[in-house]
């Protein structure tokens, strides 16, 4: 072939072109390798979710249980409380706003009191905040597994049954607002997994979570909830 190339200018040109292409391919491969290693795969789901939501400000979907109608909106339906919202929003012309030293205090109350409706709304808001926290912590647990799997299969450092149990105990308080069984079952399983998990099993979890983009999905749910704050 070398002899032929020496004699045939057309084939020589084609061969040169081929070499150049192959050389460039090597460069591209190296770039891809470099790009891949530069990606923080654990943060990537959060980055994608962040970008997805910054592109669109309005929610496409609202979680019925996790995005309760907000305090003020709820007040609109309650005649007594509606006065507060109306008083604040109605035209400012006849309003005056004053910060002054207090005169005689209205009403006798020196103790605490609040209507059941108000407490229900406060609890609903609390559930929304706590759900966010709950999702965040479940991410940490999964990331813990990821890291352990990536570090030669050592037992997960902070990933313990105690963490899962803590999440389970918090989850109970959210059961009125969230589907009971599925989230709870997840951590029920987590709470029973031994800390002395073999490396092969850790890698299996990592593969499973990555394959199904679970962190990305949890991030998307979190973003939806966060936008309600």
């Amino acid at each position: 072939m070398a002899e032929h190339l020496e004699k045939c200018p057309e084939c020589r040109a084609a061969a040169d072109e081929m070499r150049r292409v192959l050389a460039k391919t090597d460069v591209v491969k190296a770039e891809i390798r470099e790009a891949v290693t530069s990606v923080d795969w654990e943060k990537l789901p959060a980055v994608i979710a962040e970008r997805a939501f910054s592109a669109s400000r309005k929610p496409e979907r609202v979680l019925p249980a996790a995005r309760p109608r907000a305090w003020l909106s709820a007040l609109r339906m309650k005649p007594a409380l509606a006065g507060l919202a109306a008083g604040l929003v109605v035209g400012a012309a006849a309003m005056y706003f004053a910060l002054k030293a207090p005169g005689p205090r209205p009403g006798p109350g020196t103790g605490y009191f609040a209507s059941g409706e108000f407490l229900d709304k406060a609890e609903l808001e609390m559930a929304r905040r706590n759900t966010l926290d709950y999702l965040e912590k479940s991410q940490y647990v999964l990331l813990d597994v990821f890291e352990s799997a990536g570090e030669g299969g050592a037992a997960p450092t902070a990933f313990s049954s105690a963490q899962a149990r803590d999440l389970l105990s918090r989850k109970k308080y959210l059961n009125a607002q969230l589907e009971r069984d599925q989230i709870e079952m997840l951590f029920l399983e987590l709470s029973q997994i031994s800390e002395k998990m073999p490396a092969a099993e850790l890698h299996k979890i990592r593969g499973f979570v990555e394959e199904r983009q679970l962190l990305l999905k949890i991030n998307l749910v979190r973003k939806e909830l966060e936008r309600g704050i």
Binding site: S73, L99, P102, P106, Y112, A114, A122, Y173, E189, I229
Partner: protein
């Protein structure tokens, strides 16, 4: 929440991980199948598998856990609360019951007892009341929280000592706020007494709001809540609504923060319709 179903499916397999490496035994396979059915909410099919496991392999290490999952199935089916209660209680009696499942069973018993009470069985509250003295504080706290929600105020008041203790001793803000709301529901005076005992030099203690309709002497709306809950209540406002208020020149968070700084000040707003709103902090 399909995410979780997916994770669970894998974790079920994973939790039996050591078994996968070796030969999967028939009882183990049966148990795994039953659990997967539980996660799919195929309660009846899961119950059948669990019954088969207990019948064919009564000495299996999974036979005990099967009782817990039986409780889950019966609870999920609805209308079989008493059977579910029995299954959980049977599991609790096992000498090798797992700590995490014990805690879970206790919580489920509290939930089921509450459901039965709501359906008219007042005696079911006994299962909640006895757990107010449980050694595990997670169980104790949850029982107190759940009891605070019952409509019988006399029964709900039994939760007061545990709720007060949470406020006195716990540091977790989530638990504290839940206990505050629960106490506010059943015994506001107990909450006041506990909060007054806690040192809080210089910081506001209470947010007060009154609304009077035009010409009326008594306020149409009154609210006195601990400062910590005021923050939660204001935070509950929808972002769009807050923006709407800001457009009108009112930022409630800012106003309340200003009031907190000036301590003895009072915000008074008179509406077009003659209604009067007063907000102040003590």
């Amino acid at each position: 929440m399909r995410i979780f179903t997916a994770i669970i499916g894998f974790l079920v397999v994973l939790s039996l991980g050591s078994g996968l490496q070796a030969q999967t035994t028939p009882d183990e396979a049966l148990f795994r199948d039953a659990k997967l059915l539980v996660y799919d909410k195929s309660w009846n099919a899961a119950l059948e598998k669990l019954a088969e496991l207990r019948e064919k392999y009564p000495d299996s290490p999974y036979a005990g856990q099967a009782l817990f999952y039986k409780g889950e199935c019966l609870s999920g089916l609805g209308g079989r609360e008493r059977d579910a209660l029995r299954a959980y209680k049977d599991y609790l009696r096992l000498p090798d019951a797992k700590a995490s499942l014990i805690e879970e069973s206790e919580g489920s018993i509290v939930d089921l007892a509450f459901e039965l009470y709501e359906k008219g069985d007042a005696s079911a509250l006994r299962d909640i009341e006895v757990r107010l003295g449980h050694d595990d504080k997670v169980v104790r706290y949850y029982a107190a929280y759940k009891l605070s929600l019952v409509s019988d105020k006399k029964a709900a008041a039994k939760a007061v000592p545990v709720l007060s203790r949470i406020i006195e001793t716990e540091k977790d803000p989530e638990l504290l706020d839940r206990a505050r709301i629960a106490l506010l529901r059943v015994s506001p005076e107990s909450l006041k007494s506990v909060e007054d005992r806690k040192p809080s030099p210089g910081s506001p203690r209470m947010l007060k709001i009154r609304i009077w309709n035009k010409g009326e002497k008594e306020p149409a709306f009154s609210l006195n809540i601990p400062w910590a809950l005021a923050d939660l209540a204001l935070g509950a406002m929808d972002e769009d609504d807050q923006a709407e208020l800001r457009k009108k020149g009112y930022d409630l968070n800012k106003i309340v923060n200003e009031l907190a700084k000036s301590k003895e000040s009072i915000l008074r707003i008179v509406g077009d319709d003659g209604s009067v709103i007063e907000i102040w902090i003590e």
